[in-house]
């Protein structure tokens, strides 16, 4: 039986005068790839930061793996892992050392083996003993994601994991994400790329003007496109068309 492993209820957050989140609701089931889609400044990173206990919401409730982020942040941290919008890797260490560092901090019993396994899996073996400052953007991203897998978190947050990657590196990251989900890991991922959401996600939620304005499978979302338009479109509507149809409609409300 699948259950909601992440529950977000009526989340609100403002920075001074900027109302960023104005009542965000969604839930994610175990093993699902859930994509939060939104334009620049929509509040995707803010949601991720609140869910990963780095930022406090003004109001609302977030439950992850049965624990409230406000009351039991320690328990939440034990079951999550964050890959932030900008690769948080240590430039002054080698790739291997970065992995071993996280493994030791997570009290992994065999940090060396864990690091070796991940280096292999992410194609970083050759560069393993080089300082990360010499890595390309794609390699840093892969290292960043591999660091997030240590300790077998049940929920992984990926904030724009493919931004700035070349098409090949993006495909690799996609493959990794799918593998993780196949192994039962729950994934919350944010993106500005409609195509990425279309490709990866079981569920897509569109964050716009501080709220989730649409939430469902790709098929669900396709139904939201105005029928008049559908008649004139020969091919299947793309998420892009859906996105602009919905966001355009909401803005004129």
């Amino acid at each position: 039986m699948t259950k909601d492993i992440v529950q977000v209820r009526n989340l609100r957050k403002s920075f001074k005068d900027t109302k960023v989140l104005q009542g965000v609701n969604f839930e994610i089931r175990q093993g699902e790839i859930f994509t939060l889609l939104g334009q620049n400044g929509a509040g995707k990173t803010t949601v991720i930061q609140i869910l990963s206990t780095l930022l406090k919401a003004d109001s609302g409730r977030v439950i992850i793996s049965g624990y409230d982020v406000n009351n039991q942040p320690g328990k939440v941290r034990a079951s999550i892992s964050l890959t932030g919008q900008f690769a948080a890797v240590d430039d002054m260490l080698t790739g291997r050392e970065n992995l071993e560092l996280i493994a030791k901090l997570r009290a992994d019993v065999s940090p060396k083996q864990t690091a070796n396994g991940l280096l292999k899996r992410f194609g970083l073996e050759e560069a393993a003993n080089r300082l990360v400052s010499t890595y390309s953007g794609g390699m840093k991203r892969r290292l960043d994601i591999s660091m997030s897998l240590i300790g077998k978190p049940t929920v992984i947050f990926l904030d724009e994991p493919t931004t700035g990657l070349d098409p090949e590196a993006r495909l690799e990251v996609w493959k990794t994400i799918k593998e993780l989900a196949n192994n039962g890991t729950t994934i919350l991922l944010t993106t500005q790329y409609l195509e990425e959401a279309e490709h990866l996600a079981n569920k897509i939620a569109i964050l716009h003007t501080g709220k989730i304005i649409a939430n469902g499978t790709l098929d669900d979302l396709k139904k939201l496109i105005p029928p008049v338009k559908k008649e004139y479109v020969e091919k299947q509507p793309t998420l892009e068309e859906i996105f602009f149809a919905i966001t355009g409609k909401k803005e004129t409300n």
């Binding site: 206990t53 941290r77 999550i80 948080a88 240590d90 002054m92 050392e97 560092l101 009290a107 660091m147």
Partner: protein, 250 residues
């Protein structure tokens, strides 16, 4: 979670940074040594301190300058960790949050201590001598460690709050200047009244005086209590603000 274990893992990480960019230790060590050479061999002849061995007179102030410039690297390293999202990564992990800050503090203590040992070695070559007892030396070491702790916690604040790398380390410039307006290089009684009042009432003078008399006479008199009060006071206030900022930022 084991905060002590986590602190040491993270200490190992920052010490690796230091070993890989030795310039951080070299700068912190070379500058005070250059001051020492300059003051002893260039200005020294013209300075009358009432003691025959000017290196002995100078050394305590030189050590404090070294610490003051050393802590700017603590601010720098913390700033980089904040900016790169490394602190955020650690803070989203099931580890003790204070371990992250304490590892930076311990790194500062260890690297500053290395610099001090090198500087004392150079001072010995230049003629520094002390007849102080083990006990007096322990008091000197304790005083220096407390001074490091105080300035390190002070450095944590710009490390957490600075908007730019320059901003993160600029705070230490006034700290490096303080020893120059103190009894570190010349006795305060030759200074104009306004400067003298400042010099005699700022922490560096009492810390310098107490270290100096511990090394020369083996005891420090009243100065040491005032020096201790300064160091502990600065540590407590800086710690309080640093933790508050850290909680808010994290």
């Amino acid at each position: 979670m084991n905060p002590l274990r986590e602190t040491f893992i993270l200490l190992g990480r920052s010490m690796r940074h230091i070993l890989r960019s030795p310039d951080t230790i070299i700068t912190v060590t070379i500058m005070p040594i250059a001051f020492m050479l300059l003051f002893v061999y260039v200005f020294g002849g013209a300075i009358h301190t009432g003691t025959s061995n000017y290196v002995n007179y100078l050394l305590p102030g030189i050590l404090l300058i070294s610490v003051a410039s050393g802590v700017s690297y603590t601010a720098f390293r913390l700033f980089i960790d904040m900016q790169k999202g490394i602190i955020a990564r650690f803070n989203s992990m099931p580890i003790n949050r204070s371990a992250v800050l304490w590892s930076h503090v311990l790194t500062s203590i260890v690297s500053n201590s290395i610099s001090l040992v090198v500087i004392i070695g150079v001072a010995l070559i230049m003629g520094f001598r002390s007849s102080a007892s083990i006990l007096a030396w322990i008091a000197v070491i304790g005083m220096l460690l407390l001074f490091m702790l105080a300035l390190t916690w002070l450095a944590i604040i710009p490390g957490l709050k600075a908007k730019s790398i320059d901003g993160a380390s600029a705070f230490s410039y006034p700290l490096i200047l303080l020893p120059f307006i103190s009894s570190a290089f010349v006795p305060t009684n030759t200074m104009p009244t306004a400067v003298r009042v400042f010099a005699e009432n700022q922490p560096v003078t009492t810390i310098v005086n107490s270290i100096r008399s511990l090394l020369e006479a083996g005891s420090a008199g009243n100065d040491i209590w005032i020096a201790l009060a300064w160091c502990i006071g600065i540590t407590i206030v800086a710690y309080f603000f640093a933790i508050r900022i850290y909680r808010r930022a994290a």
